[in-house]
Point group: C2
Chain length 453, copies 2
């Protein structure tokens, strides 16, 4: 069905490398898909990877490199001379993958590697792609595609595909252009196959096809392809000339990365890390949020410190500090993540800002009433202090309303300012809500103490 | 380029509905892609949607229904008679989409709707699909595909595609089988087009193609298609007969849902909600975690209550409770989310359990030393209590190590038990770490008080 890496297989591979037994290694890798070979990388050293990958014939070595994680690739290429990078890998890659690899190299090595690429047209395509911003359709697209002239017939079209096909791995759609290379529409291979040889392209292509411009944001590209179930999307320049195509596999990667980034924000990681990464990288991804949390915690200690007298007077006030702080944090992260997800999937609806706020307030009100009522009941039974009973419930009510509104408004505001709203699910909202929640609780406790005690 | 819903457009649509002006409504919807029409749903009432969607001709009404959110669709279909559901929608849908729609209906309505489907073969396909578990390849696949016999030549193959094509929206790959319908491999349309008409399929198809069985887990299907960049994947039964195919657009949905589920867990939501959902649904998604948090907070108050005397003796002990609790929570959620993401992307590597634990410990040690050192320095300068200075730093150190290990072990354990490890990023780990963190801190504070004060 498909290959699964086993411990046994890794051991065999490592043995072949240790013995420098090239033919054994080649045999072992023979049946493997490039994506499987790339997965081996997590389990071998860079030196071992060098031995293995350079044994593969051109096409396959390049495919393996394309499948590697960005960081793994960067570290691997650091160990190779520029001419090897050019001849073994770049020459055999699609222009988009090649451009990604080159873009990740240090500036001074980029030109060096490109100067070793023998196919000048290919090198030119790569240079063109390097000019586009990374997070745009231009940065995602490849220059390899099959296009036909709108005036041709099916017969001529099929001949042209035979000529162009070597350049392109997979073809799902053919793009239709005029003499000036202005994009006119798309033609599916299915329609081409079922059409009679003498039919004109003009009469069978789809002129309503969706396309994007080179400057279109990659998130928008991903949403379009997902929404309209598009497998390959044509990209045009500002005057409508066809310049490239984006294929669905690149978009699956964009969607995955997007989701991973949001998830990282929500769980307090500053980088995309995995358990196989180095101790240093894992630490680097984790420490920023912990520092931010430390800062928040120190601020919290200052805020509570202002109420030292109250705590000495009634130590039980401190018992409920964690409940108030964590509820404030939980409510805030819920509110902001709902807004972040709705923004990401474009499902905000058309109700205005105030209507959305009113709804958030209604939800917050129900949550606040429920939680406050339960804790009121609990404290009525188990606490011997009216001050505690009243201040915990009243504070929780206010804190939930506050955290809901604050948690919703911040990501909406960030989005308006064109800042990634996912930041809001991270430490900033949590810490602010924690602090605000505790302040509200301590002030209200003091008021109730003065009233009741 | 593509359509964007505007407030103006919604107003026009609503006006046409209010006036019951069918021809105006049809005109307005004429240029729209079914996915765009489905998006209107968020901005109109069910009654308005009924008027609009039933105006569309067969194919398009069915496409719109396929694009709706599961819950929106369920609520919409509740308002329609069974024969309309069958004739307007089910008859014109692919078998996989149709099966999804039927599966979401109440049991008693399923048979009723199916009995109104006139195309018996189509109804049979749907009934077959309903038998598969939802989260398996069988539950994802469609019965519509194009297959050819391995003994045919290119010419015969193209004729057969002309015969079968009406059934299938898009064709990217053709599946090759023998006389018994046993799956043999795939043939890309590209290879078919560039091959000479007299070439045998036998000599141009790919016998190494990846396929899955009907029982394969949908997450595994998604990972395979993502990893190997597969656009359509053949599905076989236990004895290897071809029974269906899964297309990439279905997998994009699976990946998105998976990511959304993990995100929800991490941000404390129990359902997939959006800002356009009802107040009731939003509340239902949010209250479970808040209740759980309430429970944790009450437990925390109990734990702190055990140390009431200590707090009265040295109120400053309470100042740092939130810092300890939030650091414990943050570290725990970081650790568990790294494990969850690594498990989800199959990038756990082959190092054994102890090696992973050792790495987690190293990272935890660096974080713990850094954070403790900073707070030690801070308290040395700003706090006048040695008890506080020592107990905060020592506790933070222990708490970070504890929360890291606990946060890593729990999801690994859940995964071993075949329980979704993403649960671990939710309330359970956070609350446990909060509680454990505070207990450690309060005990250590008492020890230092007895030693130093």
């Amino acid at each position: 069905m498909h290959f699964e890496i086993t411990k046994q297989f890794i051991d065999n591979i490592k043995e072949s490398i240790e013995k420098q037994d090239e033919s054994l290694a080649v045999d072992l890798l023979d049946d493997l898909h490039p994506a499987d070979i790339a997965e081996l990388y997590d389990n071998i050293s860079i030196e071992e990877a060098k031995f293995l990958f350079l044994l593969l014939d051109g096409e396959r070595a390049a495919d393996v490199l394309s499948e590697l994680d960005d960081d793994d690739r960067e570290r691997f290429l650091k160990e190779l001379p520029s001419d090897v990078i050019a001849k073994v890998f770049i020459e055999h890659m699609n222009s988009d993958d090649a451009a990604d690899v080159i873009a990740d190299l240090p500036e001074d090595r980029q030109d060096e590697v490109l100067s070793h690429v023998e196919d000048i047209e290919h090198a030119g395509d790569i240079v063109d792609l390097l000019d586009y911003e990374e997070n745009t359709a231009g940065g995602l697209m490849q220059k390899e595609y099959v296009s036909v002239n709108i005036t041709w017939d099916v017969q001529k079209c099929i001949e042209e595909i035979r000529n162009q096909y070597e350049e392109v791995d997979e073809i799902f759609y053919i793009y239709v252009t005029d003499e000036e290379n202005i994009f006119k529409g798309v033609l599916s291979l299915k329609r081409l196959i079922i059409a009679k040889p003498e039919r004109k392209i003009n009469s069978i292509y789809d002129p309503e096809a969706i396309y994007v411009k080179t400057g279109t944001d990659s998130e928008e590209v991903a949403n379009l392809m997902d929404k309209y179930d598009i497998v390959s999307l044509p990209v045009v320049d500002t005057i409508g000339r066809l310049v490239g195509q984006i294929t669905i596999d690149d978009i699956v990667d964009v969607l995955r990365e997007e989701a991973e980034r949001d998830y990282q924000m929500a769980t307090g990681l500053s980088e995309d890390v995995e358990i196989t990464d180095s101790v240093w990288r894992l630490t680097r991804a984790r420490i920023p949020w912990l520092m931010f949390g430390l800062f928040g915690g120190v601020l919290a200690s200052k805020v509570i410190g202002l109420f030292e007298e109250d705590l000495t007077r009634l130590a039980a006030t401190a018992f409920f500090l964690p409940l108030i702080a964590s509820t404030a944090g939980n409510v805030g992260i819920q509110s902001s993540s709902i807004v972040v997800q709705s923004l990401a999937t474009n499902s905000m609806g058309f109700h205005g800002f105030w209507k959305k706020l009113l709804k958030e307030l209604s939800v917050a009100f129900i949550n606040a009433i429920s939680i406050s009522a339960i804790i009121f009941l609990y404290n009525t039974i188990f606490s011997d202090s009216y001050v505690i009973t009243f201040s915990v419930s009243v504070s929780l009510f206010i804190v939930i309303i506050f955290a809901s509104v604050f948690g919703s408004i911040i990501p909406l505001g960030l989005d308006k300012l064109k800042i990634d709203p996912a930041i809001a699910t991270g430490p900033f909202i949590t810490i602010t809500n924690d602090l605000a929640g505790m302040s509200i609780y301590l002030i209200i406790s003091r008021i109730f103490y003065n009233l009741l005690a």
